[in-house]
Amino acid sequence: MAVDINLPAPPSPDRPASTPSGRIRLKLGIVTWLALLLAIGLMLAALFAPLLAPYDPFDPATLDLLDGMMPPMQPSAFTEKTFLFGTDNQGRDVFSSILYGSRVSLTVAFAATFLSLAIGVSAGLVSGYAGGVTDAVIMRVADAQLTFPTILIALLVFGIAQGLVPAAEQESAAVWILIFAIGFSNWPQFARTVRGATLVEKRRDYVAAARLIGVSPARILVTHILPNLAGPVLVIATIGLALAVIEEATLSYLGVGVPPTRPSLGTLIRIGQQFLFSGEWWILAFPAATLVLLALSVNLLGDRLRDALNPRLRDGRR
């Protein structure tokens, strides 16, 4: 993940005009470093799950019911295997399940964020640049959607989409529907941010200079305005990613997300909570901790990025 962002130095008429480089150096504090390492670590672990996982939790052949409910780090009396985070009731290794589960969670979260980004950025750009009726219609739709909790929207979209998909394909389509539901429920925030930034940028004279030579609005939006929105878009995308991870977990926890045959972190938590009161805490605790760490580290990075891109907070400028 690159943290060098090439942004123009803000105009400061009373300072020497040219700084050696427009790059912003993120001064990373210890918390940010930890968050960065954790986020990258979790993402890499999810990416290379098949290589890292000691067992394949989805291969019934390798499962042994006798290994069920093993506490962490205790060698099994029957198969002599040791499980880092213990096993669940079917003898599945919790550690491996978490690796595979993060994979599903992150795939859904990344794809959903990409979708909200695509919808939100296009809507925001058009809304901000066109103004008038177009702007009013787009923003009122966004406002209306914002009045409902995102999870409600996602549930609604999920329900409708599942109704449209034939029963036989529901299981394979579930991930796609989930991505669409989460992605669609989050676009208004993106649209609002992008619209605001577009309103500022479109008044700048470089846009007028492009209009003078007859550059089309679409081209102005894509080649002139969009690059200048990279900063704010990057920030909301990062924070949106953390939100999408949590939203996916919530949906899966409620049982409307991915099917139990390909469990995500949310599904694992749902399964785990059934055993909490009978003393098998590890089945719930480890997936839950992973989810918390993942969401927290990505969110911290988003906050730090936002502060770094905010010239007012960057240094003691006048």
Binding site: D14, A17, S18, T19, P20, Y206, L212, I213, G316
Partner: protein, 571 residues
């Protein structure tokens, strides 16, 4: 000048202000020393980045972190104030040092009446009861030249014009009867006519109250008008100090000489040849533009139902520009100059009237400019270049867009040639706008304007964001390009000296109406309209200021422009 006491009110010796940067400490102020006596106005002049504002900030202890005073002393009436704690500084600021900043709009709180703000300031520093403080507030307003002070003390800042707001800010600054007044660019945000009044007010306050004034400005005209002595700053150092007349007439240092030579004067006759019989390239006929004021329903369909107020920005303006000539539009803020510039460039469609360039009417097709024949140079060189694009791409965009270059090498050659034309290294094309200074950026903007091979360029305040020495370079460049390519310019400016130097014909705008139009020499030598005469009289000018000073202090500048009127209530 009034009587001098022996020790100066403000004495700065060897002051250095440092900012730590990655490449070592940057000295914003580098070992300067200056004294101001009671009743004296010391002008500090310099270009942006010279460290003049930083000097003012050091005196009031308002240097932002991580900057700090690394050496030197600041004494106020003999008492050393530079090491003061924040609490001790608060007893100095406002009470002993009054401050006037550039923008009166941000210096006043829009939510409180000016009376409340004055009373608050007075009572913070002086042991007065509410009633006595109010009486003093009214007295102060009267002193700074606000008529009907009893009534206006209860008005809000938005009910005042810019000049009157600045008067209120000055009243706030002198509320506690300070020994020293720091005025940081007090007139730079104001129109010329108002500027002259504020300058006169500062001068009279200084004489009446025996105030010591540290006047920080980039405008030599203002210095010539009121300062007794002047310190010329460059790159954190004082280049030269002395009585104003000496410095202006016989500058000793090269830097000062260059600075003074670069200031255009409204009295230097135009050196442009008188062109007659040129064909009219640009015709502007009866254009009119109204703008809606905010208010009413914001939803477009409902907006028609709500009463929305309009202002007329441009009211039936017609003029034409001969090929190869420069037509200048002058006027104060709000006179509609920039709106006309945008209409003529085709960025804005006039509600009525027509604009034709080279016989072709603008605004009929979707392409605003007729195939790149009309270009524009904007005021703010920081906003007119896309910060994410390389200089080469910025200049090449019109060439690519209009198909003026066949292949990459051909386009590259044109870009390099254009950069050389505006006296920049061809290598500049690989860099980004933020790596250039304001003047360099403005030259890049000119190169971009030239790249579509226009016949006509609209220049909207092309030099008002630049320092005087840079302004001179840019104006020179514009003039030589005009001679070389036979360009036609529409020059929008509030600076009359620039207009006299650059233009062939000039139009004077007031409230969207073209009140006077004619050849430059004719308008400057024999102005017909009262407003034009007022503008010319109010323009700060070094020579004129000295002439006035020598005639004697009898002339009261506050009468220029007549009585200021209270603008529309809740405008």
């Amino acid at each position: 000048m009034t009587q001098h006491k022996n020790d100066p009110v403000l004495s700065i010796s060897n002051l250095t202000v440092e900012f730590p940067t990655a490449s070592g400490a940057f000295k914003a102020v580098d070992g300067i020393s200056l004294d101001i006596a009671k009743g004296e106005v010391l002008g500090v002049i310099g270009e942006s980045g010279a460290g003049k504002s930083m000097t003012g900030a050091a005196v009031t202890g308002l240097i932002d972190r991580p900057g700090r005073i690394s050496s030197g002393e600041i004494r106020l009436n003999g008492e050393r104030i530079d090491g003061f704690s924040e609490a001790a500084l608060r007893t100095v600021r406002g009470r002993r040092i009054g401050t006037v900043f550039q923008d009166p709009l941000v210096s006043l709180n829009p939510l409180y009446t000016i009376g409340r703000q004055l009373i608050e300031t007075i009572r913070a520093h002086l042991p007065l009861k509410a009633k006595a403080a109010r009486a003093r507030a009214i007295e102060l307003l009267r002193e700074v030249g606000i008529g009907e002070a009893e009534r206006r003390v209860d008005a809000y800042p938005h009910q005042f014009s810019g000049g009157m707001r600045q008067r209120v800010v000055i009243a706030l600054a002198i509320a506690a009867d300070p020994e020293l007044l720091i005025a940081d660019e007090p007139t730079s945000a104001l129109d010329v006519s108002v500027q002259a009044q504020i300058v006169a007010l500062l001068k009279s306050l200084c004489e009446k109250r025996g105030l010591a004034v540290l006047l920080i400005t980039h405008d030599m005209g203002v210095i010539a008008e009121i300062a007794d002595r002047v310190a010329v700053m460059n790159r954190g150092r004082i280049v030269e100090t002395g009585p104003v007349a000496d410095i202006v007439r016989n500058p000793r240092e090269d830097y000062t000489r260059g600075l003074i030579a670069a200031i255009p004067s409204i009295h230097s006759k135009s050196t442009r040849p008188v062109l007659t019989g040129a064909d009219h390239l640009v015709r502007v006929e009866n254009i009119r533009q109204n703008f809606e004021l905010p208010g009413g329903f914001s939803f477009p369909l409902l907006r028609r139902l709500s009463p929305v107020r309009h202002i007329t920005a441009v009211d039936d303006v017609s003029f034409s520009i001969g090929e190869g000539q420069t037509f200048a539009l002058v006027g104060e803020s709000g006179s509609g100059k920039s709106t006309i510039a945008r209409i003529v460039a085709g960025l804005l469609r006039p509600q009525t009237g027509r604009v034709a360039v080279g016989g072709r009417r603008m605004g009929e097709s979707n392409a605003p400019a007729v195939g790149g024949a009309v270009q524009m140079v904007f005021q703010d060189p920081y906003a007119s270049l896309n910060p994410r694009w390389r200089i080469g791409d910025i200049i090449a965009e019109p060439i690519r867009r209009l198909g003026l270059g066949q292949n990459r090498a051909e386009i590259d050659r044109q870009v390099a040639e254009l950069l050389e034309r505006v006296r920049l290294e061809p290598q500049a094309r690989h860099r980004y706008p933020h790596e250039f200074s304001g003047g360099q950026r403005q030259r890049i903007a000119i190169a971009r304007a030239l790249s579509s091979r226009p016949r006509f360029i609209v220049c909207d305040e092309p030099t008002s964001a630049l320092d005087v020495s840079v302004q001179a370079q840019v104006l020179d460049l514009m003039a030589s390009l005009q001679a070389e390519f036979g360009l036609t310019y529409l020059l929008i400016s509030h600076n009359l000296a620039v207009v006299r130097q650059m233009a062939d014909r000039v139009g004077v705008l007031k409230g969207g109406v073209l009140v006077e139009e004619g050849a430059v020499e004719q308008v400057f030598e024999r102005p017909q309209h009262a407003y034009t005469k007022m503008l010319l009289a109010a323009a700060p000018d070094i020579r004129e200021a000295f002439r006035r000073r020598e005639v004697g202090p009898g002339r009261d500048l506050t009468t220029i422009g007549g009585e200021e009127t209270l603008p529309l209530e809740a405008g």
